[in-house]
Symmetry: C2
């Protein structure tokens, strides 16, 4: 048997309205339309579901049992409708963001706060991960959105993911205050270097190699306050993105812009199509609101 759902729901309308004609009026149809649906439904059911009489219809026992089922179906359908509408109108839903640690410092809290104010019923969740892991999480479906960066363009290993550019910023050389300001990386070939996170370190090494030397990495930390303290005391030199220097600037360091260091690109990454999910789209909007230097 096949039992068409639509017909089952039409039957429910008839049972509730008390007559075929009344149900037809409520459905905005003519009476024969409903009548034909019922006839077919009863044929497929193998027996009458309701008895036609003057003044309307009465359910048979089979009809009553079907009505109980269709009531559940109708209720569930209505609930689903509500949920879909809630999601579409941002009265619900959830976005899971993965961001690299230092991004969480400023941009993310601002965006979350704005989203919470505009759409308090949208749930946001944050986890931290470096770009490669963040993108893997999105790909695996463990996150909806990843806030990542790449040097001189989007991360290379985007795969099928979609890149949403948020802005880019300079990467600047940080040396102790009072030291002679270098005009090129090569001048620091013999300096001691402080490395940041894995990617940043990779970028630093690449730049140095292009300048003709391999940097001696003495210290390693991705905390931009710690890094600047080390530099200020003459324990090494390093590079930092502009946003880190904007967030905190040690008085005893000097900052030098060098074209060789390129720029750092900040962006969002998500599965293609995810930008259409209302809650995700809303968070993308909020994260893009503040232009990066």
């Amino acid at each position: 048997m096949a039992l068409d759902v639509r017909r089952a729901l039409i039957f429910r309308e008839v049972a509730r309205a008390g007559s075929i004609s009344a149900a037809a009026r409520e459905l905005g149809w003519t009476q024969p339309a409903v009548s034909q649906h019922l006839a077919r439904l009863e044929r497929e059911a193998g027996g009458p579901l309701l008895l036609r009489g003057p003044g309307g219809v009465t359910l048979t026992e089979t009809g009553r049992s079907l009505l109980r089922r269709t009531d559940v179906i109708a209720a569930e359908l209505h609930a689903a409708d509500e949920e879909l509408a809630a999601h579409a109108q941002l009265r619900g839903g959830q976005v899971r963001l993965v961001a690299f640690p230092s991004a969480a410092a400023t941009r993310v809290p601002t965006a979350f706060a704005a989203l919470a104010e505009r759409h308090p019923e949208v749930t946001v969740s944050l986890s931290e991960a470096e770009p490669p892991e963040a993108m893997a999480a999105v790909l695996a479906g463990d996150a909806d959105l990843a806030l990542v960066f790449g040097y001189d363009g989007p991360p290379a290993d985007l795969g099928t993911l979609t890149w949403h550019h948020l802005g880019d910023e300079g990467v600047e050389l940080v040396v102790p205050r009072g030291a002679p300001a270098p005009t090129g990386l090569a001048e620091l070939a013999d300096a001691e270097w402080i490395g940041g996170c894995m990617r940043c370190r990779g970028h630093l090494v690449e730049c140095c190699e292009r300048a003709g030397f391999a940097p001696a990495l003495r210290h390693t930390t991705d905390d931009y306050v710690v890094v600047q303290n080390l530099v200020a005391r003459g324990l090494g030199v390093t590079v930092l993105p502009a946003s880190a220097l904007e967030a905190y600037r040690h008085p005893d360091v000097q900052v030098v812009e060098l074209a060789e260091l390129g720029r750092r690109h900040l962006g969002l990454v998500h599965r293609p199509g995810a930008e259409g999910v209302p809650a995700t789209a809303a968070l993308i909007r909020e994260l893009g609101r503040r232009p990066a230097g």
Copy 2:
């Protein structure tokens, strides 16, 4: 919004199959057919329900919430299907019979037993009522079937109910053994009469009036054993239907057939269309199996 149920169930198939193509194969359709349904569903939902990727689809959060609802709907639909099939194949269902008291004696138990043997999962229930009340119960929906009788044809007040003839039997005059056998009712104009139930009394009075007298009703009981005991002791005369005399025959009464007394018609009454309900039809079949004399 409108949220078409059929599309919601198609979405469920896709979610379960893991890809649009796989769902199409399971549904026996082509891929674009399913694709079009999904596109429309998502348009109506106001956002994507699943993300298309190589190797199949992944649900969005909205999609997951819809899937939960559609799972309930599908389960309920399947259960309804089962119930309808059970009723159609007499693996379930219920019939409520109302019968007049003396009918319950023989015909009803036989039919019930046969039905129970053939279809043990069909529930039957019996209540007793005289024809007028029995028919009222059917009309009110309190019973599915009424076993009733009428004199010289179906009951007059059938209304919209359907009459299903089961057979008819003679109505016979019962007088004490040894008394001269009357050849016409008029000969008993001065006798003392014993009346049965309301209807039977009515019929008796009518017959007597046609014969030119009003019968003196001395005793009243619808128990055909009691009646015959009274007659046997010379306390009155009466009329009884053949079936009552078949069920019990007192040795000291004599029975006389008189055309004037007409015949009693036995039949079933139900709401039009109820004969199509499998369980009801089965009971009608069983009740009709034994021909009445």
